[in-house]
């Protein structure tokens, strides 16, 4: 008997006409694996006899707050889109993206503070991992900021009147990057 079936029995279970959350999923998995590799390396390195923990500059906590607020801003923007208030959405996206830039500036300032204390990249393993993790994270924040500005431009052109998948993806990526930072902070401070 041939292995053919009727169309109805064999339609792909992923339904090919919707937008693509899978692409975003792949990006998130890749980024997660990258940071997992770094954290694994840190956990291994931490068992070394010469590990001395450092105090992170308090500025880092302020930056974290900024990042969390920016996530809230993104959510306000999404809510505005659902309500149909394009102008509000555009404004909130601008706020979120600007806060993202502020976060990056704050991180650079934190680096400056740490270096001024004599803790540069090569000063020791904990410092090295701090610069490595925050630097790599910052690069991903920058990518997220670009995505937010792009979503803002699209919103301004009215692209999100019927469906807002692009905005959703940018939002998920932004929250993810914020979540990663919280995890990294936990690893860098408690260990």
């Amino acid at each position: 008997m041939p292995a053919s079936m009727t169309l109805e029995q064999s339609t792909s279970s992923w339904g090919g006409r919707r937008p693509y959350p899978i692409g975003l999923g792949v990006v998130l998995v890749t980024v997660a694996m990258l940071f997992s590799a770094f954290v694994a390396a840190l956990l291994v390195r931490r068992t070394g006899a010469d590990w001395t923990g450092i105090e992170l500059p308090p500025l880092v906590w302020a930056n974290t707050g900024i990042l969390l607020v920016s996530s809230a801003a993104v959510e306000f923007a999404r809510r505005a889109v659902r309500r149909g208030s394009t102008e509000t959405a555009v404004r909130w996206l601008g706020v979120a993206a600007t806060l993202g830039l502020l976060f990056l500036a704050g991180q650079l300032a934190a680096w400056h503070e740490l270096t001024a204390q004599g803790l540069a990249l090569a000063s020791g393993p904990h410092a090295a991992f701090f610069y490595l993790l925050s630097g790599t994270h910052g690069a991903h924040v920058l990518a997220g900021v670009v995505a937010l500005f792009w979503a803002r431009a699209r919103a301004a052109r009215g692209a999100y009147r019927s469906q807002a998948s692009g905005l959703t993806h940018a939002a998920i990526f932004w929250h993810f990057v914020g979540g990663v930072w919280l995890l990294l902070l936990a690893v860098l401070t408690t260990l």
Partner: protein, 588 residues
């Protein structure tokens, strides 16, 4: 969807058409292969006749030779670059990026990839990577020379070797660009396969070529970040004076490296590297097997034996491949308990691999074999993967690996598995899909000649390398005759060099055939091989948008050869089932 209004640059250079991008990858891989093969010929000359001087080569390559003698440090650069370029810039580029891009949308019934613009970006990211790799030979201290595995401290300390200067930094940068390109590609493949299959094309109706590319992409996406992490930390160790991988108290050339904090671990790099490194070989080998399943079904005129068990075996191989990386590190100083785990785990991969090999062979049972060049290479691949796979057991068993680690047994093994198997798949795929790619057919007589001059030579040559390893010859060896115990088997090196040089020369027949057929080959029909999968339901070459009219619908599995009473002896996937007498036709 017409392309008539796009200019030359948008159509041929910055194209977003997956078929063009696939060809761009393929031809780029070809160029890189010429370089990597040339380097390997220089290596084989040195290995076979270490005492010989080569004045002509000395004039051609003044940076590599001095007074007609290949410099030892340049030998190591050639080994490093040969391996790196072949693995990433030839095999992956041609097999995964080249064929993958070309064939996936066609076989699943899509007009293009999910993200055509990203696809174009992924190719144009790999081009600078290629240029940087090639250009690194012109760094002041030469190209990277720490092996394709780039183990620190050697790769981290420019003081430790000439090849560890700027050349190594450029190597890292090129690899970073390559990984970015591959990740973009993997993203595209996964999304496309999951989301863009045409109506009726369930996952269980996809050809095995698509399945293996799908699994390879997932593997790559999961595992490449470990190499990215290792590369970034290595770069920081090199230029940022960090000590992620560098222990304390290093003394190089009599100088204590006191500017370094130390405390790092070279083994950490190895773990991160091989976490990617082992799955990477399956990223290469699985698509090779997938292509061969397709070719064997077409050429044997029967369905693949064990389509479902093959999918299961492929998934098991992929999952297992992520938990066995330590078999590259048995003698590294890793805990022997951990080593024993990795040995027990690694040999389990032989089980699903044996299923795949059995299914390949069993796909010839009750076949009606129609030989063409593609099928010939497919059959030769079965032989190669059989021998190579069995050789792997010797290395996976920790106790025997004590003797064989870093010997030519390893070199022979990975060349059989990654060079011979994948190149045979590239050849099979080329002869098979050339009509769909270029609208013409390659010459079958020249194809036979290519086959017969290549296959015996490469298999014999790389099996002989295993024997060198049994004799105890180690890798990265500029002059084997330094060692008395190796002199009696030095003749094997001469034999291997001659045999492989002949095989290398034979590749010009393939290239000549390919380029001649591009312009003068006989015009191809849309389905010259009487095949069932969707790519053959569109004209040759496939037009922009892949199907001139509506997308095909998949009504059946991918390998319906001689399974019903169709007069042609095969039933294409897109052919609707004939209605039973009196039945109402199913609306499309």
């Amino acid at each position: 969807m017409s392309e008539t209004h796009t200019g030359f640059w948008r159509r041929y250079v910055f194209s977003t058409d997956h078929k063009t991008i696939g060809k761009q990858y393929y031809f780029t891989a070809m160029v890189m292969a010429l370089f990597a093969a040339a380097w390997s010929m220089l290596l084989r000359l040195q290995l076979a006749w270490p005492q010989q001087t080569w004045p002509v080569l000395g004039k051609l390559f003044p940076g590599l030779y001095q007074d007609g003698v290949l410099l030892p440090e340049r030998y190591l650069s050639l080994v490093t670059m040969h391996g790196t370029v072949m693995i990433f810039f030839v095999i992956s580029l041609a097999l995964v990026s080249g064929f993958g891009n070309f064939i996936i949308p066609l076989q699943i019934g899509a007009r293009d990839m999910a993200y055509p613009f990203l696809n174009m970006l992924s190719y144009w990211t790999v081009v600078p990577a290629c240029l940087i790799m090639l250009g690194s030979f012109f760094a002041p201290d030469g190209a990277a020379g720490s092996g394709w595995t780039a183990y620190p401290p050697l790769s981290a300390l420019s003081e430790a070797a000439p090849g560890s200067g700027l050349g190594q930094t450029l190597w890292i940068l090129a690899m970073a660009l390559w990984i970015a390109s591959f990740t973009m590609g993997g993203l595209n493949f996964i999304t496309t396969i999951l989301n863009l299959r045409t109506r009726g094309m369930s996952m269980r109706r996809m050809p095995l070529t698509v399945w293996t590319l799908f699994i390879a992409s997932i593997l790559g996406v999961l595992c490449f970040p470990a190499l990215t992490a290792a590369a970034i930390m290595l770069l920081l160790d090199r230029v940022g004076a960090t000590s992620f991988f560098l222990p304390s108290g290093l003394v190089v050339g009599g100088q204590l490296l006191s500017y370094r904090g130390g405390g790092g671990s070279p083994l950490l790099f190895q773990h991160l590297f091989w976490f990617l490194g082992h799955p990477e070989v399956y990223v290469l080998v699985l698509p090779a097997l997938g292509i061969i399943f397709d070719v064997v079904a077409v050429g044997g005129r029967r369905p693949v034996f064990g389509y479902r068990t093959s999918i299961g075996a492929l998934i098991v191989v992929a999952v297992l491949s992520m938990i066995v990386w330590g078999h590259h590190m048995f003698v590294s100083g890793m805990s022997p308990y951990v080593g024993e785990y990795f040995s027990v785990a690694t040999v389990t991969i032989t089980a699903p691999f044996a299923v795949l090999a059995m299914n390949l062979v069993a796909s010839l049972w009750r076949a009606e074999i129609r030989l063409n060049t593609a099928l010939l290479f497919a059959l030769a691949l079965i032989a190669a993967v059989g021998i190579g796979g069995i050789g792997g057991i010797f290395l996976a068993t920790a106790t025997s690996d004590i003797y064989l680690h870093n010997s030519y047994f390893v070199v022979g093994h990975f060349h059989l598995m990654i060079a011979v198997v994948t190149f045979f798949a590239i050849f099979a795929g080329t002869y098979h899909w050339f009509p769909k790619m270029f609208g013409r057919q390659m010459n079958e007589t020249l194809g036979r000649l290519h086959f017969w001059l290549t296959v015996p030579a490469v298999i014999v040559g790389f099996v002989a390398m295993h024997l060198l390893g049994m004799g105890g010859e180690q890798r990265h060896l500029y002059d084997p005759t330094v060692y008395q115990f190796l002199r009696p088997i030095q003749w094997l090196n001469v034999f291997i060099s001659i045999v492989l040089a002949l095989a290398a020369a034979a590749q010009f027949i393939f290239l000549g055939n390919l380029f001649y057929s591009l312009v003068r080959g006989p015009v191809a029909a849309s389905n010259p091989w009487a095949a069932t999968t969707l790519e053959w339901s569109t004209p040759s070459p496939a037009p922009h948008g892949n199907w001139p009219g509506e997308l095909p619908v998949a009504y059946r599995g991918p390998y319906e050869y001689r399974v019903d009473d169709s007069p042609e002896g095969y039933t294409p996937q897109h052919l609707p089932p004939s209605p039973a007498p009196g039945a109402v036709p199913v609306p499309v």
